[in-house]
């Protein structure tokens, strides 16, 4: 122990004596360790951290997070992720032997209009959750203020108007008011009493980028969702169910029993009308238990690939940082040769010396780790902002915990050993006799000196190899992003403004909608600069996909697969406003009213998939099964477009139904304007307010912004990989410069002799440059196969690009060669300027 303290003390002193070396090494390592810590913080938060609840390991979810979907119909099949209220209640009653309790919450959050707390505050749209009354009790989560919901709050027919608000909401909107508990909070014009404030670290059991701001009893579903009660509907699967398994119960056994029970309930529900196909669907339905300690999260799945790529990138950066640090240590070892020799001469064993040198490198890595933690603190905030797109509230705290600190400590330790071991072993193999004889001026014999230089070059080649990998990955992502942004979207996003309205919250009933749309469109079309306007259930890239089974007149149902389509409702001028191309027939017009024959416009994929080699125009189909006459007549075909995400490789079959015939809400108002669409936002808000002040315009975005947002993930990866690629290139160039400068310095005498013997400056320049390029060439040759493998690793994240893209490989290689030429040129030029007379006196 005393020896370790002595070594540490001496190591610190050595580092303090060489501030330049220490600063460069610590900074290099801090970049590597910091980047890894920042990414690990995200991995830890998203993938590893448990929910802040009581005994989280006992928690099991019934099915996965299905991103807030629901199913309408008697026979869901496959893995069941949502359940009807009826099934939830039955399961809860029947399984007390397996579970201490079961609870449920609505799989989709409710977005409700919350009135301002202070006079004059405008109402706001706020995300909240509908939960069963035993939700908090089951989780073992207590309120920091007041109480949580209790089962008595959630009476099926007469729920209490009570709400628990999140800590974040309490801080941001209620000003941490301790008297907030007991006060009324007007949610959708209903005065709810705030009964408690949830703890700060609790964001619900579902990790989303928009965690709930309040929890209200499940019984409020009809009011909150402005729709008929789902509590009594046996065929709507809309609840996420979870339970606390009793200690000692085998989850597999409980899972099998519950699957049997659910199948039984579905069969009983169908009664005697069950046909073989439906019977098969029920038999294929099953419940899968998902361990709930870390919460339910589609975020985890969504971000896991991104985090994997990020982890790969930062590990490569750390490898480069290690190689750079090893190179620095090797260079410094030259000046410490005498010290090492003296230590050996006065009795140090080589093992003991290696340990001392390793202590120094671990110390250096420790300092790098400390600086890395500081960098990681900023880096994590920056990364989370990039990764999660600057969500206002994240469902987790990104502060480093013991696991993150442990990770940094471990990485620092391993890093210190990784970059310190080779130089330490090499230093401890010093030739004592000659080192001491040379008096420390220049230590070691010629052989180790050359060896050390060769080791340095080898390390640079290794750096080049890893850098090439990073550059190739960066290049692939950049070119993939370019493909993504320059593809044919199927619509024209320029000059289009998308405004989202909340018509339902303003109290409009379906029968009032056609007249309202008429007025709204008439009003906005008259605005200056507006070329066309339309309403739709969702704009392109609106992220609301409604899939329906269809039956086509004259086509028997397909036993091998479902015939389905995604659907949107749209008004007249919709295709014109979005710039979608009509391929055949006609678009939706004002004449497609509730009283006219039902019509639909379909996309190219729909037409090709269901009417291959036939003319779809004039054909009829209906939603659901079997075909219900007269169905909708296909009156037009539009070109495929990106409906959900830019990275969708193939458009789904899509049906556009006239808004007047669908009868549903069309919340997205789209305008094509003459100039900058942003400028039209205020006019639209005024126009909407003129029609009805109760209608909230919840968002206004140019369509181009939505397109860019859809490429967020790809842009993020391209930006980060480019950043790390450039960093790698820079580190490799610094490494090469260091080694070549060292080489030139050592060979000053030789260069002098060469020049005295007739070498021209160009010859010397060429000599040094050739050496630099050789080092890089070796790295490139070794790096190409490694980069091909890396490319294949990320191939699933590329859009319309081969992982072996020759242009990317060529550009990455050329960039490296260019950097090498620049890094080698400075020492080469210095060598070419050597005065032979001075050089010959140098030795």
């Amino acid at each position: 122990m005393a020896t370790l303290v002595t070594d540490l003390r001496y190591g610190l002193r050595m580092l303090a004596k060489n501030p330049g070396f220490t600063a460069v090494a610590v900074l290099t390592l801090a970049l590597g360790i910091g980047a890894n810590t920042a990414v690990f913080t995200l991995v830890n938060t998203l993938m590893l951290r448990s929910l802040p609840i009581e005994k989280p390991q006992q928690l099991y979810f019934f099915g996965e997070d299905n991103s807030g979907s629901s199913y309408d119909g008697p026979f869901p099949t496959g893995s069941l992720n949502e359940f009807s209220y009826h099934i939830y209640k039955e399961l809860r009653e029947r399984n007390t032997a397996f579970f201490e309790d079961l609870a449920a919450f609505s799989s989709t959050q409710v977005v409700l209009r919350v009135a301002g707390v202070k006079t004059g505050d405008l109402p706001r749209r706020v995300e909240g959750a509908l939960v069963t009354g035993n939700y908090f009790r089951l989780l073992g989560v207590n309120a920091v203020l007041g109480r949580t919901l209790v089962p008595e709050d959630d009476r099926e027919d007469d729920p209490r108007a009570v709400a628990v608000v999140s800590y974040h909401y309490w801080v941001q909107n209620l000003g941490r008011d301790p008297n907030a508990v007991g006060n009324a909070l007007e949610i959708d014009r209903i005065p709810f009493t705030v009964v408690g404030v949830a703890p700060p670290e609790f964001f619900g059991v579902k990790l989303t980028t928009d965690p709930p701001n309040f929890w209200i009893p499940l019984g409020w579903q009809p009011q909150a969702k402005a729709e008929p009660s789902r509590l009594k509907n046996l065929d709507t699967y809309w609840l996420d169910v979870f339970g606390r398994l009793r200690p000692g119960v085998n989850p597999r056994q409980a899972q099998a029993t519950i699957t049997g029970q659910v199948q039984q309930m579905m069969t009983a529900r169908a009664g005697s009308q069950l046909n073989p196909e439906e019977k098969q669907r029920i038999q294929q339905a099953y419940v899968q238990f998902i361990p709930g300690a870390r919460g339910l999260s589609s975020l985890r799945e969504r971000f896991s690939e991104r985090l994997q790529v990020l982890s790969l990138l930062v590990v490569l950066v750390l490898v480069i940082a290690c190689l750079n640090a090893a190179n620095l240590l090797l260079a410094r070892a030259a000046s410490r040769q005498r010290e090492i020799a003296v230590r050996l001469a006065v009795g140090a064993g080589r093992g003991r010396l290696t340990r001392q040198l390793l202590t120094e490198s671990v110390l250096l890595a420790g300092l790098g780790g400390l600086a890395g933690l500081v960098l990681a603190f900023w880096g994590t905030a920056l990364l989370s902002n990039l990764v999660f797109g600057g969500s206002a509230t994240l469902p987790f705290s990104l502060s480093p915990d013991a696991r993150v600190l442990g990770f940094t400590l471990l990485v620092s330790l391993l890093t210190g050993i990784a970059f310190g071991l080779a130089p330490a072993l090499r230093s401890a193999r010093v030739d004592l006799n000659s080192s001491l004889k040379e008096g420390g001026r220049s230590a070691g014999t010629a052989a180790p000196r050359i060896g050390r230089l060769a080791s340095g070059k080898l390390l640079v080649s290794a750096q080049v190899m890893v850098s090439l990998g990073l550059l190739v990955v960066a290049g692939l992502f950049v070119r993939s992003l370019r493909n993504l942004m320059h593809q044919n979207l199927g619509f024209s996003p320029e000059h289009v403004l998308v405004c989202r309205l909340d018509i339902a919250a303003a109290g409009y009933k379906p029968d009032q909608l056609p007249a309202f749309y008429e007025r709204l469109l008439g009003r906005v079309r008259a605005l200056p600069g507006v070329r066309s306007a339309a309403v739709a259930s969702r704009s392109v890239l609106g992220h609301s996909i409604h899939t329906s089974n269809i039956s086509i007149q004259g086509v028997p149902s397909n036993p091998n697969g479902e015939i389905d389509t995604e659907r949107k409702t749209a008004s007249d001028a919709y295709f014109e406003t979005d710039g979608m191309v009509l391929l055949a027939g006609r678009a939706i017009t004002r004449d497609d009213t509730r009283d006219s024959p039902p019509v639909a416009v379909v996309d190219q994929t729909f037409a090709e998939r269901y009417f291959a080699h036939q003319n779809p125009l004039g054909r009829h189909f209906s939603f659901g099964s079997p075909f219900s006459p007269p169905g909708m007549e296909i009156v037009g075909v539009v070109a495929d477009a990106k409906y959900d995400s830019l990275s969708d490789t193939k458009a789904p079959p899509m049906t556009f139904v006239p808004v007047a015939q669908d009868g549903g809400y069309a919340d997205d108002l789209e305008l094509r304007v003459a100039g900058d669409p942003k400028g039209a936002g205020q006019d639209v808000r005024r126009a909407v307010a003129d029609i009805d002040r109760n209608i909230m315009v919840t968002s206004v975005h140019p369509l181009r912004e939505l397109v860019d947002e859809s490429a967020h993930d790809s842009r993020l990866i391209a930006q980060l990989s480019s950043f790390f690629g450039v960093l790698a290139l820079l580190l490799a160039a610094i490494g090469l410069y260091g080694v070549m400068a060292h080489s030139v310095l050592r060979r000053t005498g030789e260069i002098g002799v060469r020049m005295a013997l007739g070498a021209r400056r160009a010859d010397i320049l060429g000599l040094v440059l050739r050496e630099s390029l050789l080092v890089v060439a070796i790295g490139v040759v070794l790096g190409l196969p490694a980069s091909l493998s890396l490319g294949r690793l990320v191939s699933t994240q590329l859009f319309d690009l081969s992982p072996n893209d020759p242009a990317t490989f060529t550009i990455a290689t050329l960039l490296l060669l260019l950097a090498a030429a620049l890094a080698g040129y400075i020492p080469a030029q210095r060598a070419a300027k050597v005065d032979p007379m001075v050089a010959l006196r140098y030795e």
Binding site: G347, N433, L436
Partner: protein, 219 residues
Amino acid sequence: MIQLKNIEKSFPVGAGRYYVLRRISLDIREGDFLTIMGPSGAGKSTLLSILGLLDGAWTGEYYFQEGPIHKMNVKQRAEVNKKYIGFVFQQYHLLDNLTVSENLDIPLSYRNVKGSERQAMVADTLDRFHIVGKKDLYPSQLSGGQQQLVAVARAVIANPKLILADEPTGNLHSSQGKEIMDLFKRLNDEGATIVQVTHNESWAAYGHKIIKLVDGWIS
């Protein structure tokens, strides 16, 4: 104490070998003060390195305290070096980043002497060599003579039986050199065996015995 029999050291040169030392046979008794002399390149320092077990690439037989060094492996030789031998160099070879007392502490730390004991031994040695006032200075703050004094102190702090000195006064002026040689004499009188390499006849006279090396042979 030491017996060398036909010690040879050579390097391969082309098809043949270049001999640095040839058939060196030598007896050194406990308490001897031996001086090795000879022109540059005669092999003096190499012989001293072999005696001090810093150089292991030689042939012949080497007995130390009747133990056959030539049969020992590197680790065993390092143990013998640690236990019995102290070195003094012409260039002092103090560690620049350590203070005088830390330089003295180094050999003890490598011999696993306990911290408290080490402190006492360093304090004793500082006192014995009259350098207490310089204990916190760095080598660069000392004169050449003072540095060599510290180097000798470092060589003897672990009580070695054999002190090997490679031109210890080579970088010192005469009065400083005399001081160091008087110190060696005193250490020899106290029982230490000393082998020194020198070009200086006056310093050679401090020893009991002189051997001369020419082209690797004892003449």
